[in-house]
Symmetry: C2
Subunit: 144 residues, 2 copies
DNA sequence: CTCAAACAGGACACCGTAGTCCAATTTAGC
DNA sequence: GCTAAATTGGACTACGGTGTCCTGTTTGAG
């Protein structure tokens, strides 16, 4: 349902948020268990979207740009692989314009519920979540 | 988010439900604006799942098997392209077993909301929906 | 029995996503 | 200014989803 790239991007962003300091692609890759060369591409996308900032050279790496309470899961998803609502009837008939048929209105409502859920989850929410099993959390300091 | 195949399958099922009688793949394809050879494959999948019954030879075609009020959108989706919940942590760490981390619990909740919405929409609901713009509805009798 | 209608199934082409690899470029520190 | 660290970008492969085509098989009707 969600692409691999989105999954990787979210893991990376959570990791970078916990770090608070620049981390190299290699460090992020190891901590989040993602193939480093591919993660590199995903992070480039996040950089283009302004979600992370990249710094080359010694001591460089990737840093999260927005404050965690200002960055939502939806922001990350849309930066990597925008989730598309059903705007108009997928059939050729554009006479129906804005209004959707019974079927596609239901499908779009499901999309909307996902969108809303993602918009209402900030990175800060995720970080603050008290959960006994915290895979990404336990890895946060692995690069220290 | 949802695959083309799912979209095609749902259009076909709605059309067949309205028809109530066998319709050939060609008829379904034209009414739902789907490439016929590909729709053929999708319908084969629905047949294997028991959602439609196929009859060869003259006067044959595809017929919807379940009563529309017993068939949900979720049934169709799962027959074609099962939407997968996040069961366990996608990271290598299976020590966490059932419990999901804060991030993946949120992602899975979004999946669950979609699943629930689809499970609560029967074909009968879709058919009965009074909507001024009814693309698929207006096509229901095009094969008569 | 024969023929035409209709589905079944396999082979193939196309394209986007996932993933790898390597050369080029920027940059901090000695 | 040289070197090592680090990102950037392009080229490449692999694979699955989408879509086409063609042959075979079933089946009803004359």
């Amino acid at each position: 349902m969600l692409s691999q790239s989105v999954e990787y991007a979210l893991r990376a962003v959570v990791f970078l948020a916990r770090a608070g300091e620049p981390r190299t692609t290699a460090q992020v890759a190891e901590a989040t268990q993602v193939p480093a060369p591919y993660l590199s591409k995903v992070l480039q996308g996040l950089a283009r979207a302004g979600i992370v900032r990249s710094q080359r050279g010694v001591g460089g790496g990737m840093t999260l740009v927005p404050k965690p309470d200002k960055l939502t899961i939806l922001d990350v998803v849309n930066a990597v692989d925008p989730l598309q609502r059903i705007e108009s009837c997928p059939l050729g008939l554009r006479e129906h314009g804005v209004k959707l048929c019974a079927l596609h209105r239901r499908l779009d409502n499901a999309m909307k519920s996902v969108e809303d859920a993602f918009r209402n989850s900030t990175l800060a929410d995720v970080l603050a979540d008290p959960n006994p099993s915290v895979p990404l959390g336990s890895l946060a300091d692995s690069a220290e």
